[in-house]
């Protein structure tokens, strides 16, 4: 288990992590989300004792990192796949780390096999692709068979097969009862990978929740309706108190579920050609939650953002 209590980090006048507290439980994959510059990497570095906290504490299974005897047996970490000496071989990179914690050479070869790098174990890592470096970093994290695994952007640089592999692998590690804490910008991946979420913005905790609760609670949830007498049905729904938005031949109803919309249509004798639940994506929920907490804002090149929930804007008030 990872516990952060009132973690604070300042760089000069700027507070990048501000009184941050959260828990990461074993047995599930916990995603660590936040816009660029939110303080995710700094938080992970403070947990590992790499950056000195200006306030607060972080513990790993109840103890701060500085009190761990052989840290690799407790916590494995991958902060950046590029933290490698280019002229050192993959095996020597792992061996140098392993021997510091009293681990065997056999374990080095074992983890190289687990991440699929056995064939290139004797090659210098300077020639590795980003995906191979990522796998090597993961191998380093797994060396001590730790109960806690912390990964910063683990899917970064991996091909689709690699992304699926790491997703399955992390889920497997969590199923074994380990604490898995992973940050990612790939929200679609996080939706598939994580069950719990810690979301921060501007260094502060925004939400500590589950993926399903976050998505369910987002305002993007709506019912899509296609009907031949759409104009009349729109007016009828609005008159009954539903929040509706029209675009072309589609109607989006928010605040009502499909059963209620269907029953209303049946009672009012409207013919429907489509009635479907439109769930917001994790991306929608995340963007909604972190609006205002983004350090670096962008302007959309198109008038309507890609999210379908945002294409309806004429009637009602979907987010």
């Amino acid at each position: 288990m990872i516990s952060a209590r009132s973690l604070t980090k300042r760089y000069g006048p700027k507070t990048v992590v501000d009184d941050l507290s959260f828990d990461v439980q074993p047995g599930v994959v916990t995603g660590f989300l936040g816009p660029n510059g939110a303080g995710k990497s700094t938080t992970m570095r403070m947990i590992m004792g790499l950056d000195m906290a200006d306030g607060g504490t972080a513990t790993l299974n109840g103890r701060p990192f500085s009190e761990l005897k052989d840290p690799m047996r407790e916590v494995g970490v991958l902060l950046d796949a590029g933290y490698l000496h280019p002229t050192r071989t993959a095996r020597n990179h792992l061996w140098a780390l392993a021997v510091s914690n009293g681990l065997s050479k056999a374990r080095v070869d074992e983890v190289l096999g687990m991440v699929g790098l056995s064939d290139v174990a004797g090659k210098r890592v300077g020639a590795f692709s980003l995906g191979m470096k990522q796998r090597l970093g993961l191998a380093a994290a797994l060396l001590g068979d730790p109960s806690i695994i912390i990964l910063d952007e683990p899917a970064n640089g991996l091909d689709p097969e690699g992304v699926r592999w790491i997703r399955d692998f992390l889920s497997y590690l969590a199923m074994e009862g380990r604490t898995v804490f992973a940050s990612s910008h790939l929200l679609s991946e996080m939706a598939l990978m994580a069950q719990q979420l810690v979301i921060i913005g501007n260094g502060r905790l925004i939400a500590e929740t589950t993926v399903s609760d976050l998505v369910t609670g987002a305002t993007g949830a709506a019912v899509t309706v296609r009907a031949p007498r759409l104009d009349e049905f729109t007016v009828a729904l609005a008159g009954a108190g539903a929040s509706v938005a029209r675009k072309h031949d589609l109607l989006k109803v928010t605040g009502w579920d499909t059963a209620r919309v269907g029953r209303f249509a049946f009672e009012q004798r409207y013919e429907l050609h489509e009635l479907s639940q439109q769930a917001p994506s994790l991306e929608d929920a995340f963007l909604e939650l972190t609006a205002g907490a983004q350090e670096y804002r962008t302007v959309s090149p198109v008038s309507n953002p890609s999210s379908t929930t945002r294409q309806f804007s004429t009637i009602g008030s979907p987010s």
Binding site: R45, M48, G49, L50, D51, M52, F65, S66, E67, L68, K69, P71, M72, V77, L79, D80, G82, Y83, L84, H85, P86, T87, R88, T89, N92, W95, A96, L97, V99, S100, N101, G102, A140
Partner: protein, 239 residues
């Protein structure tokens, strides 16, 4: 601590720069000994035979910078500090490993240079005397110089935490700054940390510097201070 020393040894021997450095030192030490042996007229003295080793001490200073500086250049210091909870243990293990390696390398270079010089002297039929007290001072002094130079490099590397800048500072300080100060201001020059150790392995004991023992001890104290400052900086700042 033993495990950490083993780890640092793996790191040191598994990068190309260490091997290049050691190969260069061997070439320098043996090559200069060969040249001195061939060029000497009536006898070969120990100090002359070890000139190559004296020059190679600069490479050991560079090695000292590299041992710590490269960890920061390639950010491997983060995986290192993520696997060991005590930074002072890492810093200490690095220093011990580096000094032990330099001690072995320095002793080997000295033995190699003397061996080559003795062989050439025998082939040419000229004397090469190793039994005098001065020869003993030169051999021990040269050996200690290699350790002092490596410690100097390590201290600079730990303070600046950047290998290129560290190497530039170490080389400019030892090859430019100290010789200029010693030449222009002899009274100040003898208190320069590297110049003060000049008498340790020189061809003759110079009056304008500290005695071999005093100079060596003074230089060692300065190197210890540099290492302590660098270690403190590493232990107390973000990795």
């Amino acid at each position: 601590m033993i495990n950490q020393i083993r780890s640092e040894w793996v790191k040191m021997r598994s990068v190309r720069s260490t091997l290049v450095m050691l190969a260069s030192a061997i070439l320098l030490a043996v090559g200069v000994a060969v040249i001195v042996g061939i060029q000497s007229n009536d006898r070969i003295d120990t100090a002359s035979a070890l000139i190559g080793v004296q020059i190679a001490t600069m490479l050991f200073a560079v090695l000292g910078v590299q041992v710590i500086g490269q960890e920061y250049r390639f950010n491997t210091i983060r995986p290192t500090f993520s696997t060991v909870s005590s930074r002072s243990r890492v810093i200490g293990a690095k220093l011990i490993t580096m000094l032990a390696s330099v001690a072995v390398a320095g002793a080997t270079l000295i033995a190699g240079a003397i061996g080559v010089a003795a062989l050439i002297a025998k082939m040419r039929g000229i004397p090469f005397d190793l039994s005098s007290g001065d020869a003993t001072r030169v051999i021990i002094g040269t050996f200690v110089s290699t350790l002092l130079a490596a410690s100097f490099g390590y201290g600079i590397g730990a303070i600046v935490r950047q290998p290129i800048a560290g190497i530039m500072i170490a080389l400019i300080w030892s090859l430019v700054a100290e010789p200029i100060v010693s030449g222009l201001l002899p009274k100040v020059g003898k208190w320069m940390p590297l110049s003060s150790a000049t008498n340790l392995g020189g061809t003759e004991v110079l009056d304008n510097f500290l005695s071999p023992l005093a100079g060596g001890l003074y230089s060692a104290a300065i190197m210890c201070a540099l290492v302590a400052i660098g270690s403190r900086r590493i232990a107390t700042t973000d990795a």
